[in-house]
Symmetry: C2
């Protein structure tokens, strides 16, 4: 008799695991997937570009439909919400289109994703306040913006906040972004954050920093009309929340599983939550290990979800693979400004016990004399004692952000700035200056550190 | 009394060393630079873009003029050709605008660069056959193309060959590229070379592969009129040589210094040629160590020249730094096709004693659903035994080539494809797919290798 895997959640992590395990085991494994929504394997990260009009339709964001997964032998049940787990008995209870059903399993994968954090302030349940996490959210935002909405207030100036700000301003809406930190994008240091604020303002976005939202006002219909802050009230036809997410782990908590950072499930590096009871987890509902600090962290991102799902799938298939942790690499853009970061910022580095030095340069994306040269600012953080690179940040024009990968790989391999400076990166005038910008900033750090002891 | 450094050659390596040492030592070091031409610190790599019209003038390619170097206390003598070395006496003889002069030194740096290899066939000295190595060469090519030239034949289909082909075809010239290998760009494998040939043809470039040049025909004025090959005679108004370069080391050889690959000088990793006699060398006239094969190699490239010059400069200043070797990373483009490579190709890997496996994928430069997604082909070579990455190659549209840096850093750190597949590279829809292309191809290699033993 085949073993049975039940997967709760049919997006990146869940379907990666399901597909990987099924491909390896074939008829020896039955795979059942319970998914609340009508879609599987979709790109939530693409929603801002759908709202902006870059992506024509919801279908474009779906990498693989339930039908396609079914054709691969995976029993996908959409519109099915798991409501209860019995980990000792190996059973999941779910509300399905056919009513409440109970499914037994040999292996259970929790891939329930993340959910937007709603500010805990009066009025937060008003109509017209939208999170941006699922395709259904995206459709609701599009509907809201498509009417006679004139003014959008975005609460939160992180990734989702600025991506949605771009989408709204490109749609011709009055766009206000309210952030509680002194600069937008708090995952980059304030000096680079200032450049981002400047860009957003020049794009026509009304950026309000160091502002705390204290409530929302609605009208007689329960429709949001204003965002109330410690710096005054801001009228709004639509409110979009970019206030972060937490693990969607009510189901797991209900079964007594311990929760970690932001409600995420602690897992080992093979993706196991509870080895004895055959419980696995992956994706936006799990913690990761930060490779530089060695501590647990929470980085909900599609790229990790896919890899974690693959890891669980391979392990379910009898191989032994591990998820090696994260560096906090992330990138985004606002209109024509690209933003990227990896590793530790100045304060994170100090908090982690390093003695950080930071240095910043202005550079270009190709040889300065080429017509396609675009400006960018690069910053690195290094440890004074070991001269190790600890983190890097980039803000710049087209072609800037992708260079974060060089820093990410340098961090991954625990390189010193001295070593990074002398590596063999690609050079030709259309693509880089003769000292590659990555190496220019490493060299600036070497120079600031002084000769090695 | 200050020590005296004499530098022969005032381009990237020579001026980097001179500037670095002078900055560190100040009045304790006299620096004299002998340069044949009127220019210092210029980008030879930029010449094709000057010829194409992307770069307005010769001056744009000069990073620092002789006057600027002099303002930093460096005694630059342009129009001065070193003709003889007396290494035992510590003297250089040079032909200068003031006549023949002899300069004593405490330290000597040979930074004499490279020179185009002229095919050893009848007629190769005809007028109208141009190398592309110095700014003077660039000016001669521009003059030649600016007249009533209609048809250019480029001999050699490597970097210079295809960059000059782009320049010529963009100038509206009939452009023929004759290469002796089966595909253009012999530093990438033939399957990717086929894609390059296809692109060049679609750009209107007449690509002739597996063709050997056997001579040149000139007219009564000694002006070249045709290129003779083993596949027929090709009429030409102008001929451009892209047949590679060799170290310009006649001077060193005349002093009895041993030459290595392509006439380049063997140096240790601090840049020393002869420690006892205080002779150093850097740039396009030296050999490098290949980090993967461990063997000597010859990779004349501005980016290495700058670093090698910096290394010599720091060592002259009393610090102890080393040039850690090269991977053979290189990139270029032809019209809208970007090309990049690093490490070993299939045959190089086999020649070096590895058991190579190669795998190729088609991918996009951003999430496939984004309007800015551009196609690219990526190939990696890995060792079957150790699963180490050995090399990578990319051919694709805008945004493709810069990704070679991720492979270069993976090679630098001797990563396996398994490890590369799971690193934390940047992800967001405008910049990458959710499995970054670099990781897609690593994953394809992992899959082809099968589970680890």
């Amino acid at each position: 008799m085949p073993r049975r895997l039940v997967v709760v959640g049919g997006d990146a992590a869940g379907m990666s695991a399901a597909s990987t395990a099924k491909r390896a085991l074939g008829d020896a494994l039955e795979v059942l997937v319970l998914e609340r929504q009508p879609w599987t394997s979709y790109s939530a990260c693409g929603i801002p570009y759908w709202v902006a009009g870059d992506v024509a339709s919801l279908d474009d964001l779906v990498a693989r439909t339930p039908e396609e997964h079914r054709a691969n032998g995976i029993d996908v049940r959409t519109g099915s919400t798991a409501t209860e787990l019995d980990l000792d008995a190996g059973k999941v209870v779910a509300r399905t289109p056919e009513g409440t059903q109970t499914f037994g399993y040999d292996e259970l994968l929790l891939a329930t994703g993340a959910e937007p954090i709603r500010p805990d302030v009066p009025g937060a349940q008003a109509r017209g306040i939208h999170g941006v996490q699922t395709l259904a959210d995206g459709r609701r935002v599009l509907d809201a913006l498509g009417g006679d909405a004139k003014r959008v207030v975005i609460v939160g100036a992180g990734y989702i906040g600025i991506e949605m700000a771009e989408a709204c301003v490109r749609r011709g809406l009055e766009t206000v972004v309210v952030g509680k930190h002194p600069t937008p994008m708090p995952t980059v240091d304030g000096d680079l954050g200032d450049l981002i604020a400047e860009e957003m303002r020049s794009d026509g976005i009304d950026v309000r920093s160091s502002v705390t939202v204290t409530g929302f006002e609605d009208d007689l219909d329960g429709q949001v009309r204003a965002v109330v802050t410690d710096h005054g009230t801001i009228e709004a036809d639509v409110v979009i929340l970019g206030t972060g997410v937490r693990g969607r782990t009510e189901l797991a908590a209900g079964a007594g599983l311990p929760l970690g950072i932001k409600g995420a499930l602690p897992v080992d590096d093979r993706g196991r939550v509870d080895e004895d009871r055959h419980v696995w987890a992956a994706g936006d509902c799990v913690e990761s290990r930060h490779r530089i600090t060695g501590r647990a962290t929470y980085v909900p991102l599609g790229t990790h979800a896919n890899k974690q799902g693959w890891v669980v799938g391979r392990n379910l298939a009898g191989f032994d693979v591990t998820f090696p942790g994260v560096l906090g690499t992330a990138m985004t853009k606002v209109v024509t400004l690209e933003i990227a970061r990896t590793g530790l910022g100045e304060r994170e580095a100090a908090d982690a016990g390093f003695d950080p030095l930071s240095v910043r340069i202005d550079a270009t994306t190709s040889a300065g004399y080429m017509p396609n040269a675009r400006s960018m600012t690069m910053k690195v953080v290094a440890d004074r004692l070991t001269r190790r690179l600890l983190g890097a940040q980039i803000v710049g024009r087209e072609g800037a952000a992708v260079r974060i990968d060089s820093f990410a790989l340098a961090l991954w391999n625990e390189m010193t700035v001295d070593e990074l400076m002398m590596t063999d990166l690609g050079y030709a005038p259309p693509f880089a200056s003769v000292w590659d910008p990555v190496q220019q900033v490493a060299r600036a750090a070497v120079s600031k550190l002084g000769p090695r002891a």
